[in-house]
Subunit: 147 residues, 2 copies
């Protein structure tokens, strides 16, 4: 299987496959007579593993560790669960932060309905100061104190 076929089967771009090789996530595969990369089914499976990890938002460094564990699966797997826990906490934090941001943006949006010039646009004016909600919403208060 050449790189293009592997790309098609996995949905991973050709350049990205080469990139993963350079990064040491995939081993350098066999080469054909014409110096083309030739992949095995194990390579395919390994790439799928990598891609599923990526879909779960894992970093390449973390995936490297998981692959190493996969290659030498002797020791205790507890850290794997903890890694997932960390990710969940992380994702949670991101969601909260984005929801908060959304509030601010919606508030900002209401400041101008358009059709003004820059001097009279409420959005432009609001971008000079902190949002109105900052004094009252807990997230902003914490951020303000933290400054």
């Amino acid at each position: 299987m050449k790189i293009g076929e592997l790309a098609k089967r996995t949905g991973c771009k050709v350049v990205t496959i080469r990139f993963y090789e350079k990064e040491g996530l995939l081993a350098a595969p066999e080469r054909s007579g014409g110096n083309y990369r030739v992949y095995s089914l194990e390579d395919w499976e390994r790439l799928e593993f990598i891609m599923h990890c990526r879909k779960h938002g894992m970093k390449l460094g973390e995936i490297r560790k998981l692959l190493a564990f996969r290659d030498h699966p002797r020791s205790d797997c507890t850290w794997v669960g903890e890694l997932i826990d960390e990710h969940i906490a992380n994702v949670d934090e991101q969601i909260k932060s984005l929801e908060h941001l959304k509030l601010h943006l919606e508030q900002l949006r209401r400041r101008c309905a358009g059709g003004q010039d820059g001097e009279n646009c409420g959005i432009m004016a609001s971008l000079k100061h902190k949002g109105e909600c900052c004094a009252s919403c807990p997230r902003c208060v914490v951020e303000t104190i933290g400054e």
Copy 2:
């Protein structure tokens, strides 16, 4: 006002201020005898504007446009509101995506309670395939069709 003081007043790091200057968001300020940057109150306000935009998740390119508009506020501001709308849509999409990811991660987490080796860890096993939910949850079905 030297760069350190501006940094303290705004909460923006010294290096970041210099970076914004290099990127053309802040004009190159006056220099003191000893070649130190000297900032005015206008510079301060401009930096605050930039930082508030950043807090709203705007990209430097977008901020550049907003600053240009601020500098020449003749024309119609409608695009500013549309820009905010785009951001809101964007943030919404990110939230949905993260909530979906969280589901997957929680499902993954339940596959192993730890104390196994790599061969018997349900998380490691699950990372070889797509998550269970993929056949039933709308987001995954769409992604699967898209492949």
